[in-house]
Symmetry: C2
Subunit: 400 residues, 2 copies
């Protein structure tokens, strides 16, 4: 009788995106470890912003983002890239993924063709596909996208009557390859964009995750700020849960974004968080935190690449000088789709390379994200991967 | 010589959306006053969330929103509406405007027809129009949208080969009219939605801004949670700068939203803020703050409506029992387009009714937002409006 009034509550749903499995090392997720997230310093930044800006931190924000963050970012980009944007060339977004979605909304219409690097960030393929466009993979080799072949591709599509308004790539410490596009290809690709009128959307998420500075200059800065939109993020440097990013682009594009109905209605897309980031940056906490996380990520990169050389000599890779990923090339007798089943049986996982192409390819490639797990777990992951490849059942090919 | 190294910095850009003008009472903006924004209490909520959830508050969040906020919201909606959603029927958004934009993305495609109440929220027209659809205004009278005429309209459009996937309205304490749709029309409109398969998108932003409780049951709850998506917001009850809202809808729709590329890539769309809101709600701060702001808004409504009765007897209106707006009907000799010029010369402004219709209408109507200014300023605004209407230049119609 005592419990007759208590309804049965459903179990509370998950808080975060990644659900850990016991004794399972899942290197498919590009997530930060808890130790790389600035719990105390971010709390202080929010306090500082609310103290300094008061109610202005809580009301409808300026459409392109609040002045203090715009200014801090303009100054910082001047330090870490080829040039500093004019404040009217900056737009604060709710993360890099939101920026890409927003850019697709204003640049494309259904039936258009969007060109992407191949391989490319697999979830960017999903974001772009949400806009009912066709995705065409550009020719690329180990150094990245091929500008001449890309110009030919755009030319052929145009001749066939297609609109090709946008080219997406991650040229710096790329997701998934970890590589950076050489400077001569950057220059040539910018020429292709200028010549065809196709807007280059440069995903510059990993610029600050740089282990051997300086990072290459962005396409945006090399292009003299025309014909390129660069998308940046605070997810890798500060915290992805904040959902805060930015873009630099031509002033006319920034104006167009500020005039989207939902921006005009709701004001700046993540205003309170943006002002807190301004406080985080101005106080020096950003620099201190970035040094801390870079040390942790560099160590993980070194541990993982050493373990791969020691225990998985069949795999070829380039040690990345920035970013979160190592891209492995496996021999032809070890297709990653089939390997994935065995790897998971051995308690390890990865992202199959085939998911990073818009066409049927990548069966000998895979992406390892080295950020989420501790160095000892990365070593154990490589041991498990080696055991999975060496297992008789794998080499015999007897997977049901 | 001393200043030769100092570059000229551009002036810092604006922080917030609304730029006040000296001695100008602009009642066109539906914004809160600084005194209605919980600077101290929100700071404490962020601290509490970061203390309780630690790094989980800063990493990629669960796509539909974090469990603690989903649970708190489900419970609260059970108290303030006809029924409580199942947790899988809730999706946390980056504000109500973002929710509407997102719903347009998944429900419509270019060339579709979207039905709206007339008048309706003027910036919703902009958000919907961004999706390259045609907007058709439903027939309505002083009590709101006419369900029978709406069924006829949808039928005629369908017969002409058009898709009509969505109907948008603000049925409770509406923007711009302040009125609520009577319950019999709610029931009839739900029948229309169920009969035609047109999804009703119910903008429920003002439910909690209720001066004479209870607020009418939502269409979503009356419809037994099928065929209606209800959009809610924390912008009017807590703070618009947070960019936090939610929607309740069918589980299949919530799943579809969680599978959008940018949500899959970035996780929950405003994760850290969502967990802070859970802390704000659970601590009792939400209830305390809401009582505080309701007292202020109720006073402003009473002062404004009394002043209108005293000093602007030519205007007809219904005193709203919730929301942020009073909707005025002016005599035919006082078209609001022309009045606006005179009003601004007298130091007062408003939203012309014509902006709230998707077709040419509303020339005798205007919207006054009573939230942003102090009671004495509201009285002064009405005096100025009366002087503008009475001015010889206005009645003579000699505006260039």
């Amino acid at each position: 009788m005592r419990s007759s009034q208590s309804a049965v509550s459903p179990v509370q749903g998950p808080i975060i995106q990644y659900q850990a499995r016991a004794d399972f090392i899942d290197l498919s997720w590009g997530h930060p470890p808890g130790s790389a997230l600035p719990v105390q310093a971010w709390t202080e930044a929010v306090q500082a912003a609310l103290t300094r800006f008061g109610w202005q931190a809580l009301t409808y924000g300026h459409a392109a983002g609040p002045g203090p963050l715009i200014d801090w970012l303009a100054h910082r980009l001047g330090r870490i890239d080829g040039c500093s944007p004019h404040p009217h060339e900056l737009f604060i977004t709710a993360g890099a993924s939101h920026a890409l979605d927003l850019l697709c909304s204003v640049l494309t219409r259904p039936g258009d063709v969007v060109i992407v690097d191949s391989p490319t960030y697999h979830l960017a393929l999903r974001i772009i596909a949400d806009h009912a466009v066709e995705i065409a993979g550009a020719s690329a080799d180990a150094d990245g996208i091929d500008p001449d072949a890309t110009a030919d591709l755009i030319g052929r599509l145009r001749k066939a009557g297609r609109r090709v308004p946008m080219l997406y790539l991650v040229p710096t410490f790329a997701n998934p390859t970890g590589s950076s596009l050489p400077v001569d290809r950057r220059a040539a690709l910018i020429e292709v964009g200028h010549g065809t009128g196709t807007m280059i959307v440069e995903d510059d998420t990993y610029r600050e995750v740089c282990y051997e500075p300086p990072a290459p200059q962005s396409l945006w800065s090399l292009a003299d700020r025309a014909g390129v939109v660069r998308v940046g993020s605070f997810s890798k440097t500060v915290a992805p849960g904040l959902r805060l990013g930015f873009l630099t682009g031509e002033q006319s594009l920034v104006r167009t974004l500020g005039q989207r109905g939902f921006v005009d209605s709701g004001g700046g897309v993540n205003h309170t968080t943006a002002l807190s980031m301004a406080a985080f940056g101005e106080s020096g906490a950003y620099d201190r935190h970035l040094r801390h996380v870079l040390a942790g990520y560099r160590l993980r990169r070194d541990v993982l690449t050493a373990a791969l050389r020691d225990w998985l000599p069949v795999a070829r890779f380039r040690a990345p000088s920035g970013g979160w990923f190592v891209w492995l090339q496996l021999p032809s007798w070890a297709p990653t789709g089939r390997l994935l089943v065995h790897a998971e049986q051995h308690g390890v996982s990865f992202l199959p390379g085939s998911r990073c192409y818009p066409y049927d390819h990548g069966e000998q490639q895979l992406r390892l994200a080295f950020t989420l797990f501790e160095p000892a777990q990365l070593q154990e992951a490589v041991r498990r991967l080696a055991r999975a490849i060496d297992s008789a059942s794998f080499t015999a090919g007897d997977v049901e």
